[in-house]
């Protein structure tokens, strides 16, 4: 292969490379885009859309050719085909990753803050954004456990459930409001994080993953069967909405938001309010995580991921360090859970199945373990993608799986795989993914 020669690559090879890409695009697009299921008379019918497939393949070919002849001309072959599998990490991107995240961060924040004011933001977009933000927050919470401390937790949804049920039960039994219950839910989830942490801390790798998975299922099964307390499969109804300094977002009432501000009632007010709540919660999660990373605990988490034995030889109490990671991760899961409960107004164990844990973990892994910006990108792409392919129902998981395979092949360490140092002396240099440990979990 000409991959070894650093000089310009011959044109024939570039065309061949583009053709190869187009072939892969064809293989992918033919079943996904080419065949559409439609409801025909007497069952499901297939609708062929070969013209669309042709356009996509053409676009891939042309785009690849263009890139090959311009940007990639001098860089040696881009990974295509089996070369992908030989690459350990996204080294070529290592240098760009950091500057990229520097631009994306503020830009994304600005868009997020202004989103409700943008012209295309109707109810659908806001609902979708709220969901995406919930997953971003969950991803950031899990990132502490998996990305920083390197402990593979497959039962993260348990803390989400604990947060949701804590709020729902406190609110319906004791008539407490969202803002009082929010910290309580977080504390309860953190408490359960510690309870889970104790028995599993001795475990490593696969064993840890299996036990956390079991914990997630146990919580769900308890919620399902403890009928008197949790309402079993019927769930809990009538969870109150959050209030803005005592102002309610209801059409009628003594103290409603729209009357106080002299507006006419709109159901959008509540949606926008919910949007800003989850945005705030997510930003707090991000802020605290970034802070923690620069504190001794955060550094100990990362050191733990790199080498646990060395940590102990330096006098670090690894048990406590792991427990704090579990507890803090769980706390954010709990916050997200109570938000979920207040937004839905109704919760049942069905919302907290293993697939949720898998989804959150997928967001963290695809985003790049330990990368905050990566989680955002992965959550948007994934949840947006799910939504976009909603019509395809039965192909959704297939596409999801294919996308996973594709990203894992393309960037085995996730989209943003570089690590940024927590403390610097002179110059901040991103650390390539191939050097960073992934923990023993």
């Amino acid at each position: 292969m000409a991959t070894t020669s650093p000089s310009r690559r011959p044109a024939a090879e570039l065309v061949k490379d583009a053709a190869y890409s187009a072939l892969i695009a064809l293989a992918l697009a033919a079943p996904i885009i080419g065949l559409q299921t439609v409801t025909a008379r007497g069952g499901l019918g297939l609708n062929a859309r070969w013209d669309d497939v042709f356009l996509i393949v053409l676009a891939v070919f042309a785009g690849r050719l263009l890139l090959n002849f311009t940007i990639w001309r001098h860089q040696g072959a881009r990974p295509i085909g089996q070369k992908w599998f030989q690459r350990a990490g996204g080294r070529p991107f290592a240098r760009h990753g950091h500057t990229l995240s520097k631009i994306i961060g503020p830009l994304a924040l600005a868009v997020a803050l202004l989103l409700p004011a943008l012209p295309f933001s109707d109810r659908y977009v806001m609902d979708l954004s709220i969901m995406v933000l919930t997953y971003i927050m969950l991803g950031w919470g899990l990132n502490i456990v998996v990305g920083l401390a390197g402990l593979l937790d497959l039962g993260y949804v348990a803390f989400y459930a604990i947060g949701a049920y804590s709020f729902a039960l406190l609110a319906t039994h004791f008539d407490l409001g969202f803002w009082i219950c929010l910290p309580l839910a977080g504390i309860l989830a953190a408490f359960w994080g510690v309870i889970l942490g104790f028995p599993v801390l001795r475990l490593r790798g696969d064993y840890l993953a299996i036990v956390t998975l079991a914990f997630g299922e146990i919580i769900r099964v308890v919620l399902l069967n403890w009928y008197e307390f949790t309402g079993g499969p019927n769930g809990i109804l009538g969870i109150p909405d959050p209030t803005l300094f005592g102002l309610e977002f209801a059409r009628r009432g003594d103290n409603t938001f729209h009357e106080f501000f002299g507006l006419s009632y709109s159901s959008m007010h509540k949606i926008i309010f919910l949007y800003y709540i989850i945005l705030c919660l997510a930003l707090i999660t991000n802020f605290v995580t970034l802070r923690l990373r620069r504190l001794p605990v955060g550094r100990a988490w990362e050191a733990l991921r790199e080498d646990e034995i060395a940590c102990r030889s330096l006098g670090i109490n690894t048990t406590n360090t792991k427990l704090t990671a579990f507890a803090i991760g769980a706390m954010f899961g709990g916050f997200a859970g109570s938000f979920f409960a207040t937004r839905q107004g109704f919760i049942s164990p069905e919302s907290f199945t293993f697939i949720e844990s898998a989804l959150i973990l997928a967001i963290v892994v695809l985003g790049g373990l330990g990368s905050q910006v990566g989680v955002v990108i992965a959550a948007i792409v994934m949840m947006g993608g799910f939504e976009y392919f909603r019509e395809f129902e039965q192909y959704r998981m297939l596409i999801f799986g294919l996308a996973m395979v594709f990203i894992m092949v393309w960037r085995p360490r996730g989209l943003i795989s570089t690590r940024s140092p927590s403390v610097i002396l002179k110059e901040r240099k991103a650390i390539g993914a191939d050097l960073v440990g992934q923990g023993h979990g």
Partner: protein, 300 residues
């Protein structure tokens, strides 16, 4: 100091008079294998003490017992800190041995935090004081100035060590990117950043070239003289051992076969028979081992 020991073989050598670490009747069994067999020796305060012996003699096992990574089958390990506090190491968990008894160690196959920068490695080593300064994270999250000051001091201490080991220009590079010799030095500096009273080094000269080896000797003397830290080292390289150690303990098959000042050990017939006598094969084997370690470190 060794002169006095030779001139008048006093009944109590210096290291027994004021030991920083006392190893008494240490035995470690792995199933049927007795890796360390009823071993007793003392590490003098302010000495460089070397443990030597052929491969598989049980040297690393002794270290693992001292630092709490193994629980000894029998025996007592007493650490006497300068201010007079005593610790029975065999009863303490490993991290407390480092944190409270102030015993630091390095590993035969280097264990750095490869994905973290050189500076970060030294910051992790100062975890416990920094944790206190951040009021166990709560103060730190709120951004209290007390913590920021402590962190600056910690960076300053780390920087002084980086200058000492000539890695100041690479402070912001990942540790895994350093060449082998630099990784060895960094691991020693990292252990020193825990401000230990005794530093245990497992084959620190393995894989170093003669120039690096000479540098290591200077570094060890500096640690002993400037930082008042006692050094306990395992070493294969006899030139290093003979040149810098105040006291040498020789192990063979888990048993102590000699114990004394370096120049006495050099001429001890039992030692020559067990260790120095078979020099040729032994050196070859050791060199092979070193090559392997080196390759492994390079790969990582």
């Amino acid at each position: 100091m060794s002169e006095t020991a030779i001139a008048a073989p006093s009944p109590t050598p210096r290291w027994e008079a004021d030991p920083v670490l006392d190893v008494e009747h240490l035995t470690m069994r792995f199933g049927g294998l007795v890796a360390v067999d009823d071993l007793s020796f003392a590490v003098g305060r302010g000495d460089i003490t070397a443990i030597i012996g052929p491969n598989g003699a049980g040297k690393t096992t002794v270290f693992n017992c001292i630092t709490g990574f193994y629980k000894p089958t029998e025996g007592r390990l007493t650490m006497r800190r300068a201010e007079g506090e005593e610790f029975l190491l065999e009863r303490m968990p490993d991290f407390q041995i480092a944190a409270r008894a102030k015993v630091a160690r390095t590993f035969q196959n280097i264990r750095l935090f490869g994905g973290m920068t050189v500076l970060e490695n030294l910051m992790v080593a100062q975890h416990n004081p920094l944790m206190k300064a951040s009021y166990f994270t709560f103060g730190g999250v709120l951004g209290l100035s007390h913590y920021r000051r402590s962190e600056k001091e910690a960076i300053g201490f780390a920087t002084s060590w980086l200058e000492q080991i000539r890695l100041i220009d690479r402070a912001d590079d990942p540790a895994a990117d350093l060449p082998y010799g630099a990784q060895r030095r960094l691991e020693i500096a990292r252990a020193m950043c825990t401000r230990p009273e005794i530093l245990c080094l497992d084959e620190p000269a393995a894989g170093l070239n003669p120039r690096e080896s000479a540098e290591l000797n200077d570094l060890l003397r500096l640690i002993r003289d400037e930082y008042q830290t006692s050094v306990l080292l395992i070493e294969h390289d006899m030139s290093v051992v003979m040149e810098i150690s105040d006291h040498v303990v020789v192990l063979d098959y888990g048993k102590k076969i000699a114990d004394g000042p370096a120049d006495v050990i050099r001429n001890d017939p039992a030692v020559i028979a067990a260790y120095l006598g078979v020099e040729d094969d032994e050196v070859e084997a050791a060199e092979e081992e070193v090559e392997e370690i080196k390759e492994e470190a390079e790969r990582r």
